[in-house]
């Protein structure tokens, strides 16, 4: 019933704090043009377009896919716009994949973007409705208490978050598209950076970026005529849970655990740490690396930090995590999830350039959003199932 699907091409923009050289359409086209070109195609070869982005308030454009129809070559074609909070980039990739797996289209363009410099991300994330009295603003204030809870539960030493920040920023310096280029960052510098929401420091926090990412997904026939290697989509999974409910585990959310369980089952993976060659996971605050390593089953509960501390998540380690620099190096909110999916595909296609994990065959792409409640993930491979 389900048709095989593969990533034929990937494109992304140079992510920056402000892309004042382009319009919103121009930002999207930069990624879309690169994606179709890398697949050896033109926009005219695309059968359907799926756009994903975070709240419309960031750019002040309602339902921007309507404005973008012309720019994306979507006139006369099916066009969808997905919005699942921070996980939206991942959801966009999964919806596009479903359209191919359902046999509805041959080639689908998934595009996710954010041009959040047109407003202010902190403002957009912090608009309080009447009757509510905000205690913190922004994502950092929301997640910091859960990070504290993780540190308490796991007994992790206090510098683990800083180790992740150093690793991801140095990886970002190998990625010409990454917003933050901090090849000379050190542990000392991170530990000396201001504490924003204790226990989260400035250098352990993602930037606010303008950027876009596009992925062309095709069926078997399209993959067979692709000019270069493709990334076969072996499994996809999405799970959601409420923002708050009595007994919710904010540190190791059930939705994440059940999502990855379904994913590994679908992909036929029983020993993730050994079977996954590289993982691009959504880490907007550095401590989420050890937290997600546990949630994803790469480490037992309470032990994720040990993988980080041992250097196993660095390039050259057992499980390189975020060789692209991750969300800590670039965070156009709507695009960040698709960037994880795209970077995982680039790895198994052998197209990750200076941040390539040698011999990567099977990779994980992961995104999350909301109050640790929306999860979308995929497993890609250089070989079909």
């Amino acid at each position: 019933m389900k048709q095989p699907a593969a990533v034929l091409g990937v494109g992304q923009t140079r992510h920056r704090s402000k892309r004042t050289d382009v319009s919103i359409a121009g930002l999207c086209r930069e990624a879309a043009d690169r994606a179709v070109a890398s697949a050896g195609l033109a926009l005219a070869d695309i059968d359907a377009v799926v756009v994903g982005k975070a709240p419309d308030l960031f750019e002040g454009v309602m339902m921007p896919e309507l404005y973008l129809a012309d720019a994306l070559g979507a006139v006369g074609k099916p066009l969808l716009r997905v919005h699942t909070a921070g996980s939206v980039g991942g959801a966009t990739g999964i919806v596009a994949t479903s359209l191919v797996q359902a046999g509805l289209h041959r080639r689908v363009l998934a595009l996710a973007f954010e041009k959040q410099s047109e407003s202010n991300a902190m403002w957009a994330l912090s608009i309080a409705p009447p009757f509510s009295i905000p205690v913190v603003a922004g994502a950092g204030g929301y997640f910091a208490p859960h990070i504290r809870a993780y540190i308490r539960r796991s007994g992790a030493p206090s510098h683990i978050g800083a180790l992740v920040a150093v690793k991801d920023r140095r990886n970002g310096a190998l990625n010409p598209y990454a917003h933050l280029q901090q090849g000379d960052i050190t542990l000392e510098k991170v530990l000396a950076s201001p504490m924003l929401w204790d226990p989260v420091r400035y250098d352990e926090t993602c930037p606010s970026s303008d950027g876009a990412c596009a992925v062309v997904i095709g069926d078997s026939d399209a993959a067979s005529v692709a000019p270069g290697p493709v990334a076969w989509i072996r499994a996809t999974a999405m799970r959601s849970e409420p923002t708050m409910f009595a007994g919710k585990d904010h540190v190791n959310p059930a939705a994440g655990r059940e999502c990855v369980a379904a994913l590994w089952r679908q992909a036929g993976i029983t020993d993730p740490l050994n079977e996954i060659d590289v993982a691009e996971i959504y880490v907007p605050f550095s401590w989420y690396e050890p937290m997600w390593l546990e949630n994803l089953g790469f480490a037992a509960a309470g032990d994720g930090w040990r993988l980080t501390e041992a250097g196993e998540t660095a390039l050259g380690g057992r499980l390189p995590v975020n060789p692209s620099g991750g969300v800590l190096s670039s965070n156009p909110i709507g695009a960040s999830g698709l960037l994880r999916f795209a970077e995982s595909a680039l790895q198994v296609m052998g197209k990750a350039g200076a941040h390539q994990v040698p011999g990567a065959r099977v990779a994980l792409g992961h995104a999350y959003g909301g109050g640790s409640q929306f999860f979308s993930m995929w497993v890609v491979s250089s070989q079909p199932m």
Partner: protein, 322 residues
């Protein structure tokens, strides 16, 4: 002591969202807006041979970027119109005016803009119109303030621009678009009941009839089961800090100067923690398990939580509510 929730009208309040969006125009629209400041209007030729004014950035037919821009108008012909008897906030004119699709001379497509015709009777398809330029161009589409009938008196800002007229406020390649929207926000029945309770000095929660969990604040629907909760539970003012962070960064509208503690507080008898402030001690003294009690504000509602002298709660008693 549990009683059913009383029926009462939900609380409502206005909500305004406003921001001045700073938009970058990109190469094509930058040219268009720069020309507007010089009182020229540009169009783009499409793959179908039609001149599009205003220009497209990407051709609707081929998705190719616009290449060459060409002067059109500035006069044009109304090809459709509608009447706006009570202009809305932000629209080009405060007095009644016409919206129109205007095909500028030399263009094959229409531009949507306003026509200051004075009355609906003065509007007709086929009317010849010309732009009324803004006195001081700001680098956006509103540098055309509106259109006016050609056969009317020449407005103050007609004809080619003089050096004095070309504004200096605009940043090339950028435009600022204010967006102001007003809403009437309605609190849920559960939220309204909670706020009314606070005003009466009571902390109200609800117990879900399916899972038996006690939620505070009252919210009406159990998120785990998707059912309406009707059983009201009054909660004491005492509770436990399950987890927290120390906020060092400011933001607009913040009530308390950093550093301060934002904590998850689990009231005794509740099954879920909620976010609040912990004040009355040094931020560094706050810890997971700290016992606290509510401090009521002068304006009603809880101002913050403050430590009591009780020994810390055991981790097991609140570990589920981190």
């Amino acid at each position: 002591m549990s009683q059913p929730l009383a029926e009462s009208a939900p609380l409502r309040a206005p909500l305004e969202i406003e921001f001045d969006y700073t938009r970058s125009l990109g190469p094509v629209l930058s040219q268009f807006m720069a020309a507007l400041a010089e009182r020229r209007i540009l169009g783009a030729r499409g793959a179908d041979g039609r001149v599009h004014a205003p220009p497209f950035e990407y051709d609707p037919m081929t998705a190719e970027p616009a290449r060459e821009l060409t002067d059109v108008g500035p006069e044009g012909t109304v090809i459709s119109w509608s009447w706006m008897p009570d202009p809305l906030a932000g629209q080009p004119l405060a007095e009644p005016f016409a919206w129109a699709l205007i095909r500028l001379d030399g263009a094959d497509t229409a531009m949507l803009h306003a026509v200051d015709a004075g009355s609906a009777a003065a509007m007709r398809t086929g009317l010849r119109v010309r732009p009324r330029w803004a006195a001081r161009p700001a680098g956006g589409i509103r540098d055309i303030a509106c259109f006016e009938p050609c056969d009317g008196p020449a407005g103050a800002a007609a004809g080619a621009a003089t050096a004095q007229d070309i504004g200096t406020e605009r940043t090339p390649g950028m435009t600022i678009t204010p967006v102001r929207l007003r809403y009437l926000h309605t609190a849920s029945p559960g939220e309204s009941a909670y706020l009314r309770g606070l005003a009466a000095g009571r902390l109200l929660g609800q117990r879900c009839g399916v899972c038996g969990q006690v939620y505070v604040p009252t919210r009406g629907t159990c998120p785990a089961d998707g059912v309406t909760m009707t059983e009201e539970v009054e909660l004491p003012e005492s509770g436990t800090v399950t987890t927290f962070c120390i906020v060092n960064v400011g933001y607009p509208g913040q009530r308390v100067t950093p550093p301060y503690v934002a904590a998850a507080v689990l009231l005794d008898g509740a099954d879920i923690a909620f976010q609040h402030l912990v004040l009355g001690c040094d931020a560094s003294e706050v810890r997971m398990g700290l016992r606290v009690r509510a401090v009521w504000g002068e304006a009603g509602g809880i101002s913050h939580f403050t430590p009591t002298s009780e020994p810390d709660a055991l981790y097991e008693t609140y570990a589920r509510s981190l």
